[in-house]
């Protein structure tokens, strides 16, 4: 695996192109149909602008108007399928009531688990949630610059107060050092850092008590043990697995790294649990779940057709490559298998803390008379499924035009936190064919500048994060 070079990449891309499966439909015919559909939609977009501005004055109206206003026949990137029209307008233009995806938002399903936190620390450093320490405490990293964690903080969602746990310093003399995944243990919090710039395999490990204090460097490793892919902490050691598989340990007081016997091919899931798949094993289904403390090995088997399959200590989640393949949930022993309608497993991150499943939501609720998909613009971006209670909760920020997203806590093991910035809106930014930026086409219906190419960019946000804390979900505590 490690002897790949650029020529391999050239070959693979060329072969993939040669062996691409046949397109399902005739291109020209499809293009004709879509153009017809877009003309129809642009009229409705213009109506939408008028209706929304008439109903609500102020900033929101301007925003909505701007979002819909790009829907003229021009080359607008954000053009979503037919249902991407504000609901109100659907009514005012006497279109049928849109069908809704029946997933209630997390704030309704688990009100005690959803809170908002500031997106930035008082000194301006950006927060990135790591995981939850309790039903009311969130572990956050604060980032002074892009992607570089500088500080660990705890945010108490009950009191709205923050506590600095520790700084995350770099080791002296190491250039381009970046702290990587953080992991929470019973007593301690550990993380590792790398210096990817020098190309050499090198990593170091740090520890701080859960109560906070000065972070202490445990030690550093080079070579094979430095290819860290997951980390954990026991009562007396930092433990980690490597990309090629295999689990190592080093005493918290420092010392020589030791490879734990019998861990070949294993990747840490969440100590003491390990799996025979790592985060890079795309398209590989899990076959084993191992308890490294007891040595207990559980064989698990993916349902037929599943290309993704991940198991936590009690539950497994899986699915196929496309929305057509349904999301599957079952116990580790294969019992209580169920299918989750309207969800799919594309994306690969299925397993969260407490064996909660994370699935993408198919917003498609049907087809129109032309056979084009009809989507629910209010469908959540993704859904959390708690197999313990059967509860399903929608997450993510969606702006009603098919744009949206969410974040996962960055702990090494499956995180207890998902979050999103509800303030972010996606707007179109356009430029001419020569690459010169131009103002977005106005909302005036029918205005078209054919030489303009548009892309979606984000605006707003950066003030608050909406956070779901899985440790606060009833029935899983």
């Amino acid at each position: 695996m490690n002897d790949r070079n650029e020529a391999d990449l050239v070959r693979v891309l060329a072969r993939a192109a040669e062996t691409a499966p046949e397109p399902a439909a005739d291109l020209l015919e499809t293009v004709r149909r879509r153009r017809a559909r877009r003309v129809r939609r642009s009229v409705r977009s213009a109506l939408a602008v008028a209706a929304v501005i008439a109903v609500t004055a102020g900033g929101a109206a301007v925003m909505r108007g701007a979002l819909s206003g790009g829907g003229g026949e021009g080359p607008v990137l954000g053009d979503a399928p037919v249902t991407a029209v504000p609901e109100r307008t659907e009514r005012s233009s006497r279109a049928p009531e849109p069908v809704r995806v029946g997933i209630r938002p997390a704030a309704e399903v688990w009100p005690q688990a959803v809170s908002t936190i500031p997106a930035k620390a008082p000194d301006g450093w950006s927060y990135r949630p790591v995981t939850a320490l309790s039903a009311t405490e969130l572990l956050l990293t604060a980032l002074p610059s892009f992607e570089k964690a500088g500080r660990l903080e705890v945010y108490d969602t009950a009191s709205g107060s923050r506590t600095v746990l520790t700084d995350m310093p770099g080791p002296p003399g190491v250039k381009g050092y970046f702290p990587q995944s953080v992991e929470v243990g019973a007593e301690n919090i550990v993380w590792y850092g790398m210096s990817p710039n020098d190309g050499a395999g090198w990593a170091d490990f740090w520890v701080v008590p859960r109560s906070g204090g000065t972070a202490r460097r445990i030690g550093e490793v080079t070579g094979a043990p430095a290819e860290v892919d997951a980390i954990g902490v026991t009562a007396d050691s930092v433990v980690w697995s490597v990309r090629a598989g295999g689990v190592y340990r080093m005493p918290l007081g420092g010392g020589t790294p030791e490879r734990i016997e019998g861990t070949d091919g294993l990747h840490l899931l969440s100590w003491p649990w390990a799996a025979d798949v790592g985060e890079r094993d795309f398209q590989k289904t899990q076959g084993r779940l191992v308890n490294l403390e007891t040595g207990q090995v559980t064989e698990v088997r993916a349902p037929e057709g599943a290309t993704t399959f991940r198991c936590g200590p009690q539950w497994c989640f899986g699915g196929g490559d496309s929305e057509a393949d349904r999301a599957v949930v079952e116990r580790v022993d294969g019992s209580r298998r169920g299918v989750l309608p309207g969800l799919h497993a594309r994306g690969g991150h299925l397993l969260l803390a407490r064996d909660v499943g994370l699935f993408a939501v198919s917003g498609v609720v049907g087809r129109d008379e032309r056979g084009e998909e009809v989507e629910d613009p209010a469908a959540p971006v993704a859904a959390l499924y708690d197999p313990a209670t059967g509860a399903l909760a929608g997450i993510g920020n969606r702006d009603g035009r098919g744009n949206g997203g969410y974040g996962l806590g960055v702990s090494s093991s499956p995180s207890a936190v998902v979050y999103w910035d509800a303030g972010i809106r996606t707007v179109e930014r356009c430029e001419t064919g020569s690459g010169k930026a131009v103002p977005r086409p106005s909302g005036t219906a029918g205005r078209t500048d054919e030489s303009v190419l548009c892309g979606a960019v984000e605006q707003g946000g950066g003030k608050e994060l909406t956070v779901v804390n899985l440790l606060a979900i009833p029935g899983t505590e």
Binding site: R4, L9, E73, A149, P196, N197, D321, R346, N403, G455
Partner: protein, 182 residues
């Protein structure tokens, strides 16, 4: 040449390019259709003055890296036949191909433009509307993830600000994103 003739002549090649960009048949068809639709709109101008194929390929690359595409991709109904694509012709390269498919769209686009289209970084930068430094850092980051060794040792320089990629565990809807909340 008329638009329909162009589509008939070049559609298949464009679709293949779309397949390498997106990694699957349904997105490839969607991307190709969308780009062709835009070409159709601009046909009289592009045919007269520009290179239609270049126009479509640029549009496809830009569409591919847009937020819209990343999310739209997640919500498409599969339009390919039920029979699974078996990577028949990849002869043991399936692993690398799948990993390419898991890259964030921009990194993937940069790799495709560099190693499939064979474009120099300057042209990739112009085409995607990003800086040359970003092209290099995106490519380096992608090659890193794929564990592809670079022939040019100088290319390693641009990895500086990409170092925390591993710490950036936040995912987009498709689960493979590099960034913050989208």
């Amino acid at each position: 040449m008329e638009f329909a003739d162009f589509v008939a002549a070049r559609g298949r090649a464009l679709y293949r390019y779309g397949y390498v960009l997106t990694g699957n048949a349904e997105d490839a068809a969607d991307l190709t259709q969308e780009a062709l639709m835009r070409l159709g709109k601009a046909w009289s101008r592009v045919r007269r003055r520009d290179d239609p194929e270049g126009y479509v390929r640029t549009t496809m690359a830009r569409l591919h890296i847009s937020t819209w595409r990343r999310l739209r991709r997640e919500r498409l109904v599969a339009q390919v036949p039920e029979t699974a694509y078996t990577d028949g012709g990849l002869d043991g390269d399936e692993g690398l191909w799948h990993e390419v498919g898991a890259l964030p769209p921009k990194q993937r686009a940069v790799l495709v433009l560099r190693y499939y289209e064979g474009l120099p970084d300057e042209e990739i930068a112009d085409l995607l509307g990003i800086s040359r430094g970003t092209v290099r850092s995106q490519a380096a980051r992608a090659l890193d993830k794929l564990r592809v060794r670079r022939a040019d040792p100088g290319a390693a320089r641009s990895r500086a600000e990409d170092a925390a990629q591993g710490a950036a565990g936040v995912d987009s809807v498709n689960g493979m994103g590099t960034g913050r909340v989208r």
